[in-house]
Amino acid sequence: MSATATATTTPVAASANVIPFAESAARVSRDTRPLRLITCGSVDDGKSTLIGRLLWDTKAVKEDQAATLARDSGAQNDLGLPDFALLLDGLQAEREQGITIDVAYRYFSTDRRSFIVADTPGHEQYTRNMVTGASTADLAILLADARVGLLEQTRRHATIAALMGIRQFVLAVNKIDLIGYDKAVFEKIAAEFREFALALGVRQITAIPMSALKGENVVLSGNQAMPWYEGPTLIEALELATSRSTQAGGFRLPVQRVVRPGESFRGYQGTVSGGAIKPGDSVAILPSGTVANVKQIVTFDLVRNAAVAGDAITLVLDRQVDVSRGDIIVSIDGQPMTGTSFDAQLVSLQPGGIEPGKRYWLKSGSRRQRVTIEPTSQLDLSTGQWKPHASLLSMNAIGKVHLSFEEPAVFDAYEQNRATGAFVLIDPDTLNTVAGGMVTAKRADVGGIHRGKEGEQRIVLSLPADLAEQLMASELFASRRDEAEIRRLTAAEAAEFFSNAGSDI
């Protein structure tokens, strides 16, 4: 059992699915797709040094780039390394201000895998950049300074990462050398973080003590300085992480364009954003609901006998049907939700905020349509609580909203499928992207979900999040997802809810 795993001390953590390193390392099949990750932390936590160290020790920094660095900074640190912050802060404006103001993407690789890092600033007012970086990430590295432990900012970053659907966290407890490699301090920080992350619904958590400056436990082992630590180095943890896969759910193909090179050929081009398909399968075209069968899957290289999530394909159907850009071709079984009213969470990205009642453009997949927004609550990032809020959502606010469409819209819940559950809002006046959002559920078009059939019995359950997620991932649940109402609560809130609800349930 590794030091990371033994650091769990709370009852919540004990019941959670924290995979010890040794066990995950023994898995036979390794994921070789590129891993997309985000780094969260501030300049003070040593984020630039950490990323610089990753690039340097995996030999992603070339000699001439290092020479430019040496020329620009005119100085090296005690270890003879260049000033990594200069390498990473690409824009002149940033160098002048000495802060990172936008998302930058970095690339490095090992013999086993390649990595795409979204490097985002840590300052609070740049929540929107973190949201941008997190939207495509499978894993988040959260930095903490071993001397100060978890900050409110660390909790904010973790909350946003979890909200954006990231389910793998690495806590980098940096500058461990400055506290004399103190195991007890590391374990205390790790345990505190683990408890917090579990409450957010994140179960894959690895805490690593490291010195980014000295390169200990980043790419190279820190065993000499920290013989008490038996867990992975950062790069080992990243090599073992999984890339998101939406192959388990129903087939989804948002149609990007129709290709008609001649009278006899009509193909629907798009990227499979969920499930799998093969010739002969029955599909429905949404929102119309028309049904057809797959005749061929065409790509440049060969006519394929199957396609899976992630593949960019051209689909040929067995009959003449009306399909155009913006439609989504789905498997007959396990269809997404179609309706004109949805619940969603969104992050407001621009100074003007998101105005209640205003008509925006919503883009999801290849479909763009009009929508109006009604905020209902807003997340208080300092406490993690949702508070009622029906007015303007100002920049960087995270809100729960109702979406109302004029034409039917098609979504999966974001937790089921990140591609078909995500959307952006575009301001019709400025044409700028003003919000990123995640659909949580369909709202019953008339009367609300709890006023459906007369006399219908309903049951309210309170379950551990991991158990609930397993139930929700089942096909039976997915097929009736729009009949269920889901709220995420802390254990204490759930207890309060049930005590307030009285004996009727």
């Binding site: 070789t32 690409g90 002149q92 939207s135 050929f265 081009q269 290289d301 290849s366």
Partner: protein, 317 residues
């Protein structure tokens, strides 16, 4: 393309290769997605074609994205008239072979005012013959979207550029005010006169480009492979000495050696490297142990720190 030929091609694919590894496949899928999205959302796209290895990969991906249809937009080459001779020959062969619409534009000011990389310095020359020429060509074509082969790993200011990079009507890029770009949902809404530069290769690295060229057997300008070539050494760069417009300066002499190029641009501004890598396998092997970045041979990046960002703000690709 006749119907029967097209049907035949679909049934009997043009090529049969081993499947791509998951990493390259993911990059390919992403690039195809971007191509299709831009082609569907914009009225008049164009693809910037510089004839180099990245452009060659970009073109290959475009052909894949729209198969079995034709590439549904023209290719634009901004010709400074100072390109390597082999580049121009290669460009014309490719355009014919793949049935492409090729638009070539040269800034007339170059000939009128005799602006050359030798007489005016790389900064001014590039501004006129590349940046100004590109703007002229984009305005002349009325293009609302332009594909480019830029990669985020190339240079620090590019690391922050979006896949849809928004440009004002006078082609300016404002790095402080870029549109947020979440998931793979791209905002293609623009006002009249504005445009977008779209970068399908954003997430590729130099090694990815070479490995993909190898896996897909993509033809390249031979200058990428080492051969015995004449060159002169100038300002620490090895400049190819085959164009009569290259005048030797005092103390310079033409030498011969095994050299190749890691990037291709205007020959007076593009330095060669010493190499014996005369085929793809050897180039990749050399690359994987290389310790110098590919832009090192480019005089244009060395003018000043932050020089690429400055050029981009002004409209350079």
């Amino acid at each position: 393309m006749s119907l029967s030929a097209q049907e035949t091609e679909i049934r009997n694919p043009p090529v049969s290769r081993p499947p791509l590894d998951p990493h390259l496949k993911a990059l390919e899928n992403e690039a195809i997605h971007i191509f299709r999205e831009v082609a569907a959302e914009f009225e008049n796209p164009v693809m910037l074609y510089s004839i180099g290895k990245d452009s060659s990969v970009l073109l290959h991906l475009a052909r894949k994205a729209f198969f079995p249809g034709r590439v549904p937009f023209p290719l634009l080459h901004v010709d400074t008239t100072w390109k390597f001779k082999e580049m121009i020959e290669f460009r014309d062969q490719i355009a014919e072979k793949y049935d492409l619409d090729l638009v070539v534009h040269t800034n007339k000011r170059g000939a009128e005012e005799n602006i050359t990389p030798f007489t005016h310095g790389s900064a001014f020359y590039t501004d006129v013959m590349k940046t100004e020429a590109l703007k002229q060509a984009l305005d002349a074509g009325g293009y609302d979207a332009a594909f480019g082969g830029a990669r985020r790993d190339e240079e620090a200011s590019r690391a922050k550029e979006r896949i849809y990079s928004f440009r004002t009507p006078d082609h300016k890029w404002d790095p402080r005010n870029q549109r947020p770009e979440l998931w793979n949902i791209y905002n293609g809404m623009i006002k009249k006169g504005e445009s977008v530069r779209a970068f399908p290769l954003s997430n590729w690295t130099e090694v990815d480009i070479w490995r993909y060229i190898q896996a897909e057997d993509i033809p390249l300008v031979p200058l990428y492979y080492a051969a015995e070539r004449p060159y002169v050494e100038r300002d620490g760069m090895m400049i190819l000495a085959e164009d009569p417009r290259l005048e030797l300066q005092p103390g310079e002499e033409i030498q011969h050696g095994m050299i190749r190029f890691r990037t291709l641009g205007c020959f007076p501004l593009t330095g060669a490297i010493r190499s014996t890598a005369s085929n793809l396998e050897e180039v990749i092997a050399e690359l994987e142990i290389a310790t110098v970045s590919e832009r090192q041979g480019r005089a244009i990046d060395r003018d000043q720190s932050g020089s690429m960002e400055k050029k981009k703000r002004e409209g350079y690709f």
